[in-house]
Symmetry: C2
Subunit: 142 residues, 2 copies
């Protein structure tokens, strides 16, 4: 008779919170090491493809006026550009500059802290973890 009493939800909450915190700490450390706020890092990562101001605000889940200020600061720093849309003269297209794209690349690749932790798992652990994470994500977002 193995001692496999299933843990209750409370037993899982603490280690889950620890994983979440570590994940966020790693990501914000990367952003600030490149002199970016979290909001700016998120915007830059979203700008893989050019986006209109409203599409960007939707993506960042913030008000359009907020996006205006955010992008204005990033434009002043040379990370993005705002061009008039050729299709709709009300609209503007936000594009990452070469410098912005290069920084975004470093931001993405510099998620290596989290990536390395996942690499350090054994193949068995990885195989076991994947469906559990999928399931948990489904449960949390439904």
């Amino acid at each position: 008779m193995p001692d496999t009493v299933p843990p209750d939800a409370g037993d899982l909450l603490e280690p889950l919170a620890r994983v979440v915190r570590s994940y966020y700490d790693a990501l914000t450390a990367v952003a600030t090491s490149h002199g970016l706020s979290g909001a700016q890092a998120r915007a830059l990562i979203a700008l893989r493809e050019p986006l209109s101001m409203s599409a960007l605000a939707d993506h960042l889940v913030c008000d359009a006026s907020n996006a205006t200020g955010l992008i204005a600061r990033m434009e002043a720093r040379g990370l993005v550009r705002r061009d008039p849309s050729p299709e709709d003269r009300r609209s503007k297209v936000v594009t990452a500059t070469a410098e912005g794209r290069e920084l975004a690349l470093r931001l993405r690749s510099a998620m290596h802290t989290v990536h390395a932790a996942l690499e350090a798992l054994t193949p068995q652990e990885r195989t076991a973890l994947l469906p559990l994470l999928d399931r948990l994500g489904d449960l949390l977002t439904r």
Copy 2:
């Protein structure tokens, strides 16, 4: 021959990010539904026990002047109290009021979104998840 090719770290990153995002969304939704900012919620949760201003700033990992403004706003709202320390006349002790403690209770118990998702796992899934979360937390924080 089962198709158990172990997933690489990239395969795990996306579902992990989804879990993390859902977790944070749930927590901030709880805080804002009670009219609290994230910083205020964190402070209130930290104040299970009375703390000095500097101990609170340490806990929140922010500057002391930041804690002054934060606690001043919460004090104006009747959530906390600042009393002179009887031991060190330079120091003040921050204590949650009855209203603040009641709100903190609701904040803690209202983590039910995450809790419910964990409850919805099968006993087998919970048993499998716990050691993996522990291991991942260790890898991320070391």
